[in-house]
């Protein structure tokens, strides 16, 4: 029996096409992926992301404990700041990629991927080191309001001053009278917000944002557009571009690994990996031949398999075929060329700088 978010009925009533995603019955699309994608790039879209999990660290040991579990330097954040990073095993393998919301040094909310709710909670609470670690995933609903018009729309229904809020900052306040954590974060590459609210209030919050957003022609969006938007930004997707067997360094997430911040789980392994050099790297590529690369397609050089595609699509805002792939370091530099095997035939590909999409 798949799990459902508090918005299941809302999606079905609105005519969304529902699919199973990591054990969750979620909308894959409403109006169509391309239309939804375009709406977020040019106006504003709303996503149900209530399937994401929330694990809370509380108590005097909270910051210290989380710091030992997290690759980024959460100790350098201030209250009201969010930070992206990874949870790693001793091997450096990625347990999950998460966003930490520092409500206080003794109160941090870790937003985890839906598929990893239980795994992450087990991992985090198993290394609690004196912190009080709670899985509050079922108590929270979560909406993402994303796009260039998100701020103007949201400002009309919230008492939080959004113009004073920078990217990756958040505040507690009310949206349409509902208590929310309002964060300027997202997974689309556009300006936008993520609203964390009490689970039972999620349908009311959705309706209030949809109602207020009529002026901006707000578009409900499904997981399909969420995926194409994130891939145009080369944002990694856990379980597809990385997993317990890959390290953040291999996944191109070295920028969120602070090896000099002090002890944390996975640090030694990654330190060694950095010294010895990586065996493979995740790169962004475009296909210069026709076709679309997909997860699992082989990467070829001189007819031999040297890597694998982890994500691929035709970027709706780009009109080109893009993807992420693990390749040997010798093929990782911008401008390097290789082939992607598509249905038995090689298609030429070229490594490019990411994000694929940049604002006009």
């Amino acid at each position: 029996m798949p799990q459902r978010t508090p918005l299941y009925e809302t999606h079905v009533r609105a005519g969304a096409r529902m699919v199973d995603f990591a054990g969750w019955e979620m909308p894959v699309q409403y109006a169509g992926i391309l239309e939804e994608h375009e709406a977020v790039r040019t106006r504003v879209g709303i996503f149900d992301v209530s399937h994401m999990g929330e694990v809370i660290f509380r108590g005097p040991k909270a910051l210290e404990a989380l710091s030992r579990l997290f690759t980024n330097d959460v100790g350098k954040t201030v209250d009201g700041q969010a930070q992206y990073g990874c949870l790693c095993r001793e091997t450096g393998g990625i347990v999950d990629d998460v966003v930490v919301y520092r409500r206080g040094a003794a109160d941090l909310l870790v937003c985890v991927n839906a598929a990893n709710r239980q795994k992450d909670f087990d991992w985090l609470s198993g290394h609690a080191a004196g912190a009080d670690v709670q899985n509050e995933s079922d108590a929270w609903g979560q909406l993402a309001i994303q796009g260039p018009l998100a701020a103007q729309l949201l400002q009309r229904i919230t008492n939080v001053n959004l113009s004073a809020m920078r990217t990756y900052r958040f505040a507690n306040g009310e949206v349409a009278g509902i208590p929310c954590l309002v964060a300027r974060t997202g997974y689309t590459g556009e300006d936008g917000f993520e609203l964390f609210c009490p689970a039972e209030a999620t349908p009311r919050l959705w309706d209030a944002v949809m109602d207020a957003g009529r002026h901006e022609k707000i578009q409900p969006c499904g997981l399909g557009a969420r995926d194409s938007l994130r891939l145009e930004m080369a944002y990694r997707l856990y379980g597809q571009d990385m997993d317990d067997g890959t390290t953040p360094l291999e996944a191109g997430l070295g920028w969120v690994v602070k090896l000099d911040k002090g002890e944390f789980i996975g640090r030694d392994a990654m330190f060694r990996q950095k010294e010895q050099g990586l065996a493979r790297k995740l790169v962004g590529f475009v296909l210069t031949d026709a076709g679309i690369a997909r997860h699992g397609y082989p990467v070829l050089q001189d007819g031999r398999k040297v890597g694998e595609v982890t994500s691929g699509t035709k970027g709706p805002s780009l009109k080109t075929s893009i993807g992420l792939a693990y390749v040997p370091p010798a093929l990782a530099a911008e401008g390097s060329t290789f082939q992607v095997e598509i249905r038995g035939r090689p298609a030429a590909a070229k490594v490019v700088k990411t994000p694929f999409y940049t604002h006009k």
Binding site: V28, I33, G224, D227, S228, K314
Partner: protein
């Protein structure tokens, strides 16, 4: 959902329409709806042979790849080349502008084995 009366249908959601001795082939309204936005199409070339029940190309949506299965065996005599640059035509007009190939069938009787509109409609309703 449309099910034109003058077409024959496969269980893989292709349609075939008689044009003289030849057959025009495409995918159904149901198929395009299930796929979502089509962003890429790969079709055979004129002169290629296609075989009944075997793949003659693929359509890809933003999310997924789907094979196209030929309703009959025969030789490809025409290909809808504009689809390469405008694959969305398949979503917009699956039964007319979104046609894919024209085949000269080896055995015209193969067409009789396909479903008519009523049978296909019932088949689709069963799937939903």
């Amino acid at each position: 959902m449309e099910f034109p009366q003058d077409l024959k249908y496969t269980r893989e959601h292709e349609w075939a329409r008689k044009k003289g001795t030849q057959l025009v082939i495409g995918i159904t309204d149901f198929a395009q709806d299930q796929l979502g936005d089509v962003v890429f199409v790969e079709l055979p070339e004129v002169g290629d042979q296609v075989k009944k029940g075997e793949s003659f190309g693929v359509v890809e949506s933003t999310k997924a790849v789907s094979e196209l299965f030929s309703p009959v065996s025969g030789k490809v005599v025409e290909v809808n080349d504009p689809l390469a640059d405008a694959p969305e035509t398949i979503n917009e007009d699956p039964y007319e502008e979104g046609w894919m190939i024209v085949v000269e069938p080896t055995d015209p009787k193969e067409l009789d084995a396909l479903m008519d509109a009523g049978a296909y409609k019932a088949f689709v309703e069963e799937q939903e």
